[in-house]
Amino acid sequence: MKLIKYLVVGFVFGVVLTKTEAVSWYRIFEMFQFESFHMYGIIMTAITTGVIGIQIIKRFHIKDIKGLPIEILDKERGTFRYWIGGLIFGLGWALVGSCPGPIYILIGSGFITVGFVLFGALFGTFIYGFFKDKLPH
């Protein structure tokens, strides 16, 4: 039963990303052509909402659902991995028009050929794990 809330949050996430068409290859293409504000609007509103929420959590020392203090970990320091990893991710994002969230959402929606994208993504994750120690970070 504890997991039910995650199912609900995921469901809302899936509906919203589909209905705002952030899962659409076309919307990603349009975004990278700078021909619509739509995707930029989504991302900026999400970040603005997030910034306000995180500031409220930090300033008022809001406790989490279990009554524990909420700790938001800082991302690891680094430069190379973020630029290069980000660049590689961006190439894939624009090619197949979906980031990891939408990959699952589209498969759930019945777009079976997206299964190949998932296969590729799992393979890519595996290759990263395999060569992790040899890559510059």
């Binding site: 995650y6 996430f13 980000g86 929606s109 799992l122």
Partner: protein
């Protein structure tokens, strides 16, 4: 046109995505979708061969439940809340797609030119889908996160590494659509 079946406004969706991230933070978790790819690799038993997959993926089980919910949400929205007016992108964009030989949306979320069921007869399409996925999987793990982990969670918390990653995402995307698309389509 119904308010639920037409394309949802970016402000509404952006706000809800932000709230989704904050909900998970309130539950004591971190919003990030690409971590599930690592979990799936571990479930497949790769932890025996590669130490990176030998981790406490069970602590991320909640995240797989989010994925399951998202899949159900996608199914619900596609089958019960869609409308032919959806995906009405900029006509100038459609013109560019035309030049690349990619079909216009006409209400569809994905182009047939890349995701059509003839993928089995087209090694090129099959390769593009798998290769695109490969770049996403490899890149997100290398960068330590994807759009949800870096662009939404990271930037909301003013993380400099996330800003670098997000700039990388956009540079990569711009290179792909402007320089590589004309070569492959």
């Amino acid at each position: 046109m119904n308010i639920l079946t037409s394309t949802w406004h970016w402000s509404v969706s952006g706000f809800i995505i932000g709230v989704v991230m904050l909900c998970l933070t309130y539950f004591g978790k971190t919003f990030g979708m690409s971590t599930n790819l690592r979990s799936l690799c571990s479930i497949a038993g790769l932890g025996k061969k590669v130490p990176f997959f030998n981790w406490d993926w069970k602590s991320q089980r909640w995240n797989l439940v989010v994925v399951l919910g998202a899949m159900l949400g996608g199914f619900f929205a596609t089958h019960f809340l869609s409308d032919p007016s959806n995906v009405s992108i900029n006509p100038a964009t459609i013109l560019k797609l035309n030049k690349l030989g990619i079909d216009a949306p006409n209400g569809k979320l994905l182009p047939e030119a890349l995701f059509g069921s003839d993928v089995f007869q087209s090694p090129k399409k099959l390769f593009l889908l798998i290769f695109g996925g490969f770049l996403i999987g490899f890149g997100s793990r290398y960068a330590g996160g994807c759009t949800s982990g870096h662009a939404i969670s990271g930037l909301s918390n003013f993380q400099l590494p996330s800003l670098k990653a997000v700039i990388g995402f956009f540079v990569g995307g711009l290179i792909m659509v402007n320089f590589i698309f004309p070569l492959i389509f």
